[in-house]
Symmetry: C2
Subunit: 261 residues, 2 copies
């Protein structure tokens, strides 16, 4: 099932996508959705960030080639993490499919994409094991963990490198039925492919993260886990359009613009 | 004005505290509160975390003596940060005044308190200056940034060191009228004072953080900024009761228990 979120009379509303039609639903995203009977043309609907997230978890250094690239950037040895230590991002930075990433006028010229899969928690969960970990996940979407690399290497935290307003595109919708093993992530800049990798080729997979995380903390409906990215990326310029596509989920597209240009 | 939050028929409700009485209010915390006429005895009311936060910002290394202690712990030079780079914590870990901090059975024996003031954002804000920064703050409360030091030094991120369930006591209520310069933070373990410091003796003060943060991101009502702590703290044992008091705001008290004991 594909679930989108859009504005209905100024109020966010969920809908189930079937073909080119959004079937409006009522009820909470995590409580069960019932079609109201109203429909909207998908092509004529402005999509929102597909749900309002609670805690924003993010796995860093979670694909082998990306670890090498990051190590080089920071001038250190390319050591793969030994444990699934989860990180955090901030919800202030989220934008929807087809909205613009706005690079601040005072930002350096080293803004890059990171295309990743996002696992969405649908059930309260504590002390899960690898075997039952995915039972708390209600669906998946796509994230672009936009990163300003100069700030990332120079600052003590990743606050502005990763959490500047508009730096976290997410969408276009939630897909509940996927075969993780079968997915491929493809990123394109201005229509030209820049990287492609098996989505599930994680250093630590989703069950491994969930087992570790829930040994100390409770996951709640609306929490989400961004699973990291692979490879290296080019510096983006004013006007560049980045597409992150995961077959079986969808395509997240955002233009990058520099403030004041 | 003092604003508390409590359960009313299973639903969170705000109230204004006057003396020993809570005057129930309706309306959103950030939109204006109107007394309903119903009152409750403060002493008979179980307080909740005083509001439902959005983005959880946290200043680290923000008092001189604490920086020295942390440097020693990590075996590095005690350099004060050169820029106000904000950090993050997670809302999953919040508990209210008088609730127990539960140390997981598998956690090491190096759990410590960090008593701090919390600034609560009441208005959307971008591009503020030091001069007008405090205009977006609607009030203050008290936080205990509980930290497991072995995990903090050994893990790649602070996920379980700082964000294990129950590791973020906050409360007891919001105080909207304070003179920052006049405040003193006092921490007691089992009634015995362990540290006392001028609350406003920050390395980077609240306006400095807000000016920097809002140069890249928008603050929203419900965001909060934990401002860091001073000094070093003892390792806490099963049964210890920690009080963080900031005169003019209130007293946040929590017992520490070890899971399974």
């Amino acid at each position: 099932m594909r679930i989108a979120r859009f504005n209905k009379d100024g109020r966010p509303c969920h809908g189930i996508i079937e073909g080119e039609t959004i079937h409006e639903v009522e009820g909470g995203l995590f409580d069960g959705l019932n079609k109201t009977g109203e429909t909207h043309a998908l092509s004529a609907t402005k999509l929102l960030v597909p749900f309002k997230p609670e805690v924003f978890y993010a796995a860093g250094l979670n694909y082998a080639e990306h670890v090498k690239e990051q190590a080089e950037m920071h001038g250190r040895e390319p050591n793969l993490p030994e444990k699934p230590d989860i990180g955090y991002r901030a919800n202030n930075a989220l934008i929807a499919h087809d909205e613009d990433v706005v690079i601040p006028a005072h930002a350096p010229d080293t803004v890059q994409y990171e295309g990743e899969i996002v696992a969405i928690v649908g059930k309260k969960a504590k002390n899960l094991t690898k075997e039952n970990a995915l039972s708390c996940i209600m669906g998946y979407t796509i994230g672009n963990d936009v990163s300003e690399r100069t700030w990332q290497t120079g600052d003590r935290t990743m606050w502005r490198a990763k959490n500047t307003d508009t730096f976290k595109p997410m969408g276009p919708w939630i897909e509940t039925d996927i075969d993780l093993e079968a997915l491929t992530t493809t990123v394109r800049v201005n229509g030209k492919q820049t990287i492609q990798f098996p989505t599930n080729n994680f250093h630590f997979d989703i069950p491994t993260f969930i087992e570790a995380m829930t040994s100390c903390l409770t996951l709640h409906p609306g929490d989400m886990i961004w699973m990291g990215t692979e490879g290296r990326a080019p510096n983006l310029q004013h006007g560049d359009v980045v597409e992150v596509e995961i077959d079986g989920i969808g395509l997240l597209r955002n233009r990058f613009v520099r403030e004041g240009q």
